[in-house]
Each structure stands twice: as structure tokens, then as C-alpha cells.
């Protein structure tokens, strides 16, 4: 079953087309990598899917709802995390979880259990009362991911969640992503780290607003006769530059 569908989704800012007729589908429980260089249009696309930005043309469905007409229903079914951590630094760890649990409409009675559950999963039992600003960067990131899926949404959108983080922490973060996918949460993740693309079930590679390739990492490497995803990406980027000139 597809939980995300995009059909010729386009977004223009004046004469500049940030997202140019992209089409793809994402299945339930999938980890979908949305790759591209900085400025390729990833964030714009993700914002349209989350109902933060209106598409100029094209159609999009998220969790079965139309992104143009039913943004409110979509909001109740998705989680979202950008490269900023979106945690309140002057609130304690549990207060942050409590706040977002309330925002996402988790019933009052269940919130206490959910807080404990998340703290246990993260191994943060002793940090419950700590202000978020006192946490190390990697911890903040793990916490903000858990907060983004505090309501166990059907889909979570991650916009460059690991940018500027060291490789060890990135690995740990991906373990959390796998964990969420195992629970049935569809993960839509953008990144410009090509090694992370290997962790995804399927990836799409976006260059200058267009999707140039979309397949499993294995098939893409075969198709482009490349040793790793980085080479795949560079071949695509080079091709685009040649076409552009």
C-alpha cells in the first residue's frame, strides 16, 4: 500500500522552478531516501508533502489525504523533523516529550506511560529532569527524533536529520530509524550523505529539481556500474551539468 504519492508535483518561485514535475510512490513501512545536493529542491518537496507549502501544480497524497485540500488531516498523521532540532532548550527532557505529546493529541492518561517508554528506549532514564540545553548534540538529536514520532505517526519526514553530526552518532541515529520502520512507521528521509543512502530501502536522486533516478541502492549501483552511491550521484550530477551547458 502506498502512503505517499506524488504526481508531477511542481513548485516555482517566480521564474525559478525549485521542484520540477516529480512523481514517485512510497510504500507503507519503507525507508525512502530522498537524495540530492544542497539546493536540489529536497526541502521544498518535503514541505509540500507536509502541507507547509502549496504546490504550484501537480498532485500529492500523504496517508491517503490530498496535500492541497486536507493539510489538517495530514498533519495528524505525520511526524516531522528538520535539521534544526526543534526541542525547547529551556525545558526539561520529559517536559519536551510531554509538550509534543499534548500537541499531537495523545490522551492525557497515556502521556505518562509514553514518556517512560521513550526514556527507556533511549536509555535516558537518568536524564528525565535534565534541561535539554545540557544534553550533548547526539543525544538531542535522538531525543528530537523520538519527539517527532511521539504519536506513532504513519509517516515521518526527516529533512537532513544528520547534517553536521559525527559518523558514530549518525549510526546510532539510523538505528532509531530502523527501529521506527520495524514498528511500521514509513520513513521519508532527505540527506546529502551518500553513505546513508545505502541504509535506505529505495532512494530517489534529485538534481536541479528533477528526479533523475529512483530504485533500490543495489539496482542503482548496478545500473550506473558504480561501486557505491557516491559514484552514482556524481555520474548523475555530471550528466545534468553537461545537459545544462
Amino acid at each position: 500500500m502506498n502512503v505517499i504519492t506524488a504526481e508531477n508535483l511542481t513548485k516555482s518561485f517566480g521564474s525559478f522552478t525549485a521542484v520540477d514535475h516529480i512523481s514517485f510512490e512510497v510504500a507503507q513501512g519503507e525507508i525512502f531516501g530522498f537524495l540530492g545536493a544542497n539546493g536540489a529542491g529536497k526541502t521544498t518537496a518535503i514541505r509540500m508533502l507536509c502541507g507547509l507549502s502549496k504546490p504550484t501544480s501537480g498532485k500529492g497524497y500523504v496517508a491517503g489525504f490530498d496535500i492541497r485540500k486536507q493539510p489538517e488531516q495530514i498533519k495528524a498523521n505525520i511526524g516531522y523533523l528538520s535539521q534544526k532540532f526543534a526541542l525547547y532548550e529551556d525545558l526539561k527532557v520529559w517536559e519536551n516529550i510531554r509538550l509534543y505529546a499534548g500537541i499531537y493529541g495523545i490522551p492525557e492518561k497515556k502521556i505518562g506511560d509514553r514518556i517512560d517508554e521513550i526514556l527507556t528506549r533511549l536509555g535516558f532514564e537518568n536524564e528525565k529532569e535534565v534541561l535539554v540545553k545540557a544534553l550533548p548534540l547526539g543525544w538531542k538529536q535522538k531525543l528530537s527524533f523520538s519527539v517527532a514520532i511521539v504519536h506513532e505517526p504513519r509517516i515521518v519526514f526527516l529533512d537532513e536529520p544528520t547534517s553536521g553530526v559525527d559518523p558514530a552518532t549518525r549510526r546510532q541515529f539510523w538505528e532509531l530509524i530502523y527501529d521506527a520502520a520495524d514498528r511500521g512507521i514509513t520513513v521519508f528521509v532527505t540527506t546529502h550523505y551518500m553513505d546513508e543512502a545505502e541504509y535506505c530501502n529505495r532512494v530517489s536522486i534529485m538534481v536541479d529539481g528533477k528526479i533523475q533516478a529512483l530504485d533500490t541502492p543495489k539496482n542503482l549501483k548496478k545500473q550506473f556500474e558504480a561501486g557505491n552511491m557516491d559514484e552514482v550521484f556524481h555520474q548523475l550530477a555530471r550528466k545534468a551539468r553537461l545537459n545544462g551547458d
Binding site: 507547509l52 495528524a76 505525520i78 516531522y80 528538520s82 526543534a86 529551556d90 510531554r98 500537541i103 493529541g105
Partner: protein, 370 residues
């Protein structure tokens, strides 16, 4: 509703966990009022007085006595000739010289006319005007006494000093309390609201909130409620301090004063929202509310400088400054002791400003990030 409550609570955490902000918010009005009441004042006390008195009769002695006992003047020099005046001013200590004509009392009694010359140092015009005003008022009051005492009742001129009508002691606090109220409320409501929304944008939490099912109106309300609450505390502090410490009475109706203040708070909050809908960064929000709101409040609201004497362009601008209307209204109520019908215009202007601003800022507050 629970969402909203949790969110308002969070805003209070933000405010109270940041000790510096809390301290500033709660102490600022107190500090400003004390400064204004005791330090920054247009009152000039203990001016050194030089006197040339060739008459030395009952009238001149009485006037000198009155000048000295007013508390505004200390007689430090008696001059032997008018030529010394320039000399004493050059020394720089003397603030005012009083020169009586010869046979002062005799002339006053028989012709109803006697000359007294007041000389002040025009290098500091504000000071000079203030001290000469004091002296004229004091001399005029002596004339009045004389008039009452005299049987013949020779008509003298009456003191033309209209400025002192509602503020006979020329107390600076009378003028400043309404101004400080306007400034503090504007500062806390507009600046703090806009900065706190801009902070969420900067941190990225606003994006998350907009993606969440949380209603935008809740986000706005949760930002507005804490500062509304703080403004009420500040309003109370300011009023208590001004009545009990600065001895500025609330001559008119307290009820209408509060209505007026609430209206002004709404306008300021709406301005804060409007600013925050236009900016992305805390610093910009701070600068805009600091420069674009505070400067006009200080300079164009009539708090420091009388608006009436400004060029028409500035007068026009002052008309759209909410603080001007608020300060005008507060002056009417607190100092002149007026009440509802006389502040109708202020209430209407502020009311329409509130409606327009709230409507515009609600509309501009983006549900979608473009």
C-alpha cells in the same frame, strides 16, 4: 483546550527559567519609575541665586524670603552693583540673578508698578526657562497676597503660567508616569511577543508546530497570554509605585484607567504579532520593536517633547502612534481627574487600532511556510 493550557505553561517556563528576562521584565518598570521620579526630572532644585536689592524694603525681603523657602533656590550672593552680574554668571555657579528696582515697595504701593528683572544663563535654555518660570510664579504669588491684603485693591496682573495648572509644584513625575506606563507596556507586549515568536522560528520549533495538528490560533494565544498577564502585573506595580512612592494621585476613575490600559495592551500585543509575522530572526524583531516602536514612543508621543510644536509631518506621524493616545488618556484620567466622556476619542482611536492590527496580524500569521 488542554493543548493550549500545556502551551501557555511552556511559555511561562521560557520566561521564568530565563532569570535575566524575568528580572528585567519585573524590575524594569520599578527601575524606570524610580529613575524618572527621582533622577530624570525636569524639576530644578537648589538653584544658586544672586540678588541685587537696592531697596531692601518689606516687599523685596518678602520676595527673597519666599524664593528661598520654596526649596528651588538658595540665595548665595548679594550683589553690590548690577555690574557684578556678568561676573557671577561667568563663575558658573549662579543659576538665576534677581535684580530689584529702587524703592520697590513704595512704587508698588503707589503706582501699582515695580520692576524686577530675572536673569538666567541662556546657555542651558531648558534650565533657564524652568528657573525663571519658578521665580515668576513665586513673585506672582506674592503679588496676589499683597492684593488680598490691600484695602484699596489696586489691580495687578495675574500669573499667566498656564502650564502649572494641573501641576502646581511642577513635579516631573506627573508628566513622566503616563509616559513610562506607555513605554513599559509597549516594550513588554510588543517586544517580548515578537521576540518570542521569532525565537521559535529561529530554533525551528515554529516549523514543527506548523506541521503539527496544533491550531495556529492556539500558537498565537499561547504567545499572547503570558505577556498579557505580565503586563497586568507591571501595570499594577506602576500604579502602586506612582501613587505611593511618587505621590502622583489617580485623580480620575481607576476603572476607566484600567480599561484604557487594557486596550493599549491589546494594541501593543497585536503590534508584536504583526512584527513577528514579518521577521525570521530574534535580533531583527528586537531591532524593529526597539527602533520602530520605542523611538516614536519616546520622541513623538508627547512624553518628552510637546508634539504641538513639531513640524506637521512629525505631528501627522504622532497621530498614528498608539502610545500618544494612551498617554493623552492617562494624563486626562490620572492628573486632570477626568473620566469616561472626555476620553471617548482616545478609547475609540485605540479600539480601532486594536481591531485593525489584530485582524491584519492574524491574517498575516502564516499557516503555511512559503
Amino acid at each position: 483546550m488542554k493543548q493550549l493550557k500545556a502551551f501557555i505553561k511552556k511559555e511561562f517556563y521560557h520566561i521564568f527559567r530565563d532569570r535575566l528576562t524575568t528580572a528585567i521584565l519585573l524590575l524594569l518598570p520599578i527601575m524606570m519609575l524610580i529613575l524618572v521620579g527621582y533622577a530624570i526630572t525636569t524639576e530644578v532644585r537648589n538653584t544658586e541665586l544672586a540678588i541685587f536689592d537696592p531697596s531692601k524694603d518689606a516687599a523685596t525681603l518678602a520676595i527673597i524670603n519666599k524664593l528661598e523657602s520654596s526649596g528651588y533656590f538658595n540665595v548665595t550672593r548679594y550683589l553690590d552693583s548690577p555690574d557684578e552680574i556678568e561676573h557671577v554668571f561667568r563663575e558658573g555657579k549662579t543659576g538665576l540673578a534677581v535684580v530689584f528696582s529702587e524703592r520697590f515697595y513704595e512704587n508698588l504701593m503707589h503706582t501699582g508698578q515695580a520692576q524686577v528683572q530675572l536673569l538666567a544663563d541662556g546657555a542651558d535654555p531648558n534650565h533657564a526657562i524652568t528657573v525663571t518660570n519658578y521665580a515668576t510664579t513665586i513673585i506672582a504669588s506674592y503679588q496676589q497676597e499683597l492684593l488680598k491684603a490691600s484695602v484699596t485693591g489696586v489691580p495687578y496682573q495675574i500669573s499667566p503660567e498656564v502650564k502649572l495648572l494641573y501641576n502646581p509644584q511642577m513635579k516631573g513625575a506627573y508628566n513622566f508616569v503616563p509616559g513610562v506606563m506607555g513605554m513599559i507596556l509597549m516594550l513588554i507586549c510588543a517586544m517580548m511577543t515578537s521576540v518570542s515568536i521569532a525565537r521559535e522560528k529561529e530554533l525551528g520549533t515554529m516549523e514543527l508546530l506548523l506541521v503539527s495538528p496544533m491550531k495556529p490560533i492556539y500558537i498565537i494565544l499561547s504567545k499572547v497570554v503570558p505577556y498579557f498577564f505580565l503586563s497586568i502585573i507591571n501595570l499594577t506595580t506602576i500604579l502602586l509605585l506612582s501613587v505611593y512612592l511618587l505621590k502622583v494621585p489617580i485623580a480620575g476613575s481607576l476603572f476607566w484607567l484600567i480599561i484604557l490600559a487594557l486596550l493599549f495592551i491589546f494594541v501593543s500585543l497585536a503590534l508584536g504579532l504583526l512584527i513577528s509575522s514579518m521577521v525570521e530572526k530574534q535580533l531583527v524583531a528586537l531591532l524593529i520593536s526597539g527602533m520602530a516602536l520605542m523611538m516614536p514612543v519616546v520622541f513623538l508621543s508627547g512624553m518628552l517633547f510637546p508634539v504641538e510644536n513639531m513640524p506637521w509631518l512629525l505631528r501627522m506621524i504622532s497621530e498614528i502612534i498608539p502610545a500618544k493616545w494612551f498617554i493623552m488618556g492617562v494624563r486626562k484620567i490620572m492628573i486632570k481627574g477626568l473620566s469616561y466622556p472626555s476620553i471617548t476619542k482616545e478609547l475609540l482611536v485605540l479600539g480601532s487600532m486594536a481591531v485593525v492590527l489584530i485582524a491584519v496580524s492574524l491574517k498575516k500569521f502564516k499557516i503555511r511556510l512559503e
